[in-house]
Amino acid sequence: MKFDRRAFLRLGGAACLPLLVPGVRTWAIDEETAATAALGDRVLILVELQGGNDGLNTVIPFRDERYKKLRPKIAVPDSHVMDLGNHLGMNDALATLGESWDAGDACWILGLGYPQPNRSHFRSIEIWETGSDSDENLTDGWLGRLIGSAAADPKRAADGIVLGGGDSGPLHGDSTRVIHLNDPIQFTRQARAVPDIAHGEDARKALEHLLEVQTDIKRSARVIEEKRANAPDLGVQFPQSKFGKRCEIAASLVSSGVPCPLIKLSHSGFDTHTDQLRRHPQLLTELATGLAALRKALIASGDWDRVLISTYSEFGRRASENGSEGTDHGTAAPHLLLGGQVIGGLAGAQPDLGTLDKNDLVFTTDYRKLYATIEQQWFQLPANPLISRGVRPLPVLREKAL
């Protein structure tokens, strides 16, 4: 079992919420029926917006009077909104993504969320990352299950690479090999000194974990070193922010052909309870400049068509502002898809500001529609009831065989 605060909470909640059993049962059935399709050379880059991004100040219903009424102090002024059509606009802190929007390879999926929203950071990110219902507890990440249901590929450097901190989140799973790295060059150098120690089913869980990580380090380092030896120079300047540097590493891994289907980056600081007008645009600008550089690099390297970038976050924020020029934890929010196969535009539906539930937006699009899209259209796997929950994919990707 993953030992973390979530496990901690589950144990605490287990007595009061006897919900584990049904989840586990459906999962077992699913594993029997899952086909073992290959993932091809497609890559999914996930960007976690840590803390809960304020969707209403990201994709803004700026023509709606009620928006400004809900947010007398922190509404984004019209002069800082880039019109996206449909009475919606993008915060101009994201201006560097304008090129992608104009090129038609950026799509905003609106109103993503789930019923009975949970407003705890930890519980809600757990729901998003495991793909569970609000009242259901799952251990593995949704991509951990996705990897588990596809054919294993021994040539992979890893199933997933987490860049620059943060946990494996959606990539977590008993059968997924995830490595965390900050700097690929230092990583390969240090990995050479790690001894090969065989391991297997040892009852000593903590020790097993250590040995597994050692083995993964050695294997991944071998592959990364080999590929990066002939990495192309893409001539793209990345921003020097933490997030920008992570984007740069992601670009170098993908463009040098390091075989790894999942990459996760995180961008933190979105828990804007206070001082939002100053902090939120900074966060969005860092996000946009990093992603714009990543896009440019992958177009230059010819990899853009095999890459899909998707943001996610635990929740959006309260529709009404609080007394500290910020916003409290909320519910539904829009998320961004970028990639050479993305059909640009808006998908889903913007939540109606007239029908709030306790000052919160009501979601319009089950977040698992995004997962269904990634599962069935991006990786072209058969629908897995535990990943996509029987919901239909969104029409946001060009249909092109792997």
């Binding site: 407003r119 790690v194 903590a206 250590l210 500290s324």
Partner: protein
Amino acid sequence: MIRIPVLAEIDSYHSSMTSKRMKLRLPALARGGWLLTMLLVTTLVSGQDEPATTAEPAVDQKIATPIGLDGARHLLGRTIFGAPLDQLQRYSSLTREQAVDSLLETLTTTAVTPLPSWASLTPGKIQQQRGKTAESRKAFQKSIRRWQGELRGWWTRELISTPSPLTERLVLMWHGHFTSEMTKVRSAPAMLKQNQMFRQLCSGDFRQLLHRVAVDPAMAIYLDTRRSTREKPNENFARELLELYGLGEGNYSETDIQEAARAFTGYRIDHRTGELRRIRRRHDASEKTVLGVTGSLTATEVVDAVLADPACAEWISRRFWIEFVSPTPQATVLKQWAQALQQEDWSLRALLRITLLSDAFWAKENQGSLIKSPVDLVVGTMRSLKIEKAPAGQALRTISRLGQQLFDPPNVAGWPGGHHWIDATTLLGRRQFLTAEIHNLAILNQMQQLPQKDLRPPAQDAESEPEMMSPGNSPEMRVQRELPRRIKARERRRFMPQVLRELEQMWQSLGDTPDARSLRLQQWLLPFKPVGTVVEMGSIRDRLGSVLLDPTYQLK
């Protein structure tokens, strides 16, 4: 034959009545110093067989016999970041109860490291420093950053050289439980005040601790209580009080949070005193219901409602289990601990005693089941190898690189710990510390022991990281002054022989034959037999290095 009832009682330590009686009987043992303790141990041990076989032989014998070197390593590794071999050997001849009680006797409420110079400034003085001009503000921002570094350095120094590492272990635990991030709080004085509050109450009355947390200024900044008003209650603190600090998820409703948030409205930091104060006109005094308690509740009464909830004592017991026992708490045991905690008037010292004397703590399957935190690894290695005079700044940087930035847990839930400490990056970083950095620390440790005139002055460090404080305030401070982190080749040549000589002495003291020494070395430092190849020949440096690099050294 007084030992028969004593042994019987030890076995039933869950009952608060018996443990209270035991406390009355044992202080002489605990306070009497080593000589007396040893004498008593010998008496107890020599006569154990007869009474032990009459009742439950296996259990009683286990409890009455000395814990041995393995037991001492387990106990000290879990509680005081590990220890030098001589300390381990002293504990090894005690019974579980004697060892735990001796350990608990070391608890204290204050730090020994001299405080940074700004700690004596009053809140009013600090406000004055901020000034009104853009220039003075800018200078003030700069000193805020410097103070933050100094505060981190101060605590690291205390962790490395405190005579009461158990106290610091508890302070660190509470810092990870009642989290505040300096990145958001910004004020180093407020973070220091919180840290001192943890030190004062870490083994005291939990009720007092929770009440103090609720009105702690750094907390009020971190979780926005200070901005919460009657018109717009901010839910941040109320939510975490119920979810993370007091009860755990599943033990409250969203309504409880919203109602509790109204009770925490109207609190402001008084800039003259630095304390939290309730402003009547901003406070929502109307009726609220939190966890079944109704009234015009204030912060104090909401905390009381949390403490009155049966889930609270269990939640705290769970924290102790996860910190000290294993990653997988047993619900039935937690219930017993929770009951005992309440019967012991919420004494955290009593809960710690219960935890450390529990069968679960000593169970073979739980030994080595925890992954060392970066503080465990770095501070523990330095304390074990007696290189605690090495600069704290160096240790601090390593700890932070390995994922445990002191005063800045990753989020409000604190460090998730366990498997999360180890990923490809941090595992490689840990190896780097145990191969290269540890040697530098040993050299710097030697350099620090020389008279000051023999040393070059500290280099101008552009990053100006954790310098202890401006030098020259007092003789002690001069001794405490941090050395520069870079070591010149000349210094390495000069000091490395002394490092090696001391290592060699340590090696010789381990036993009579190389085989015995080698075994003792592993017993001292590893919870299991090594899984990698341990060097059985050659210099102590190579032997020690290979033991430290064995994956089992990462466990406790």
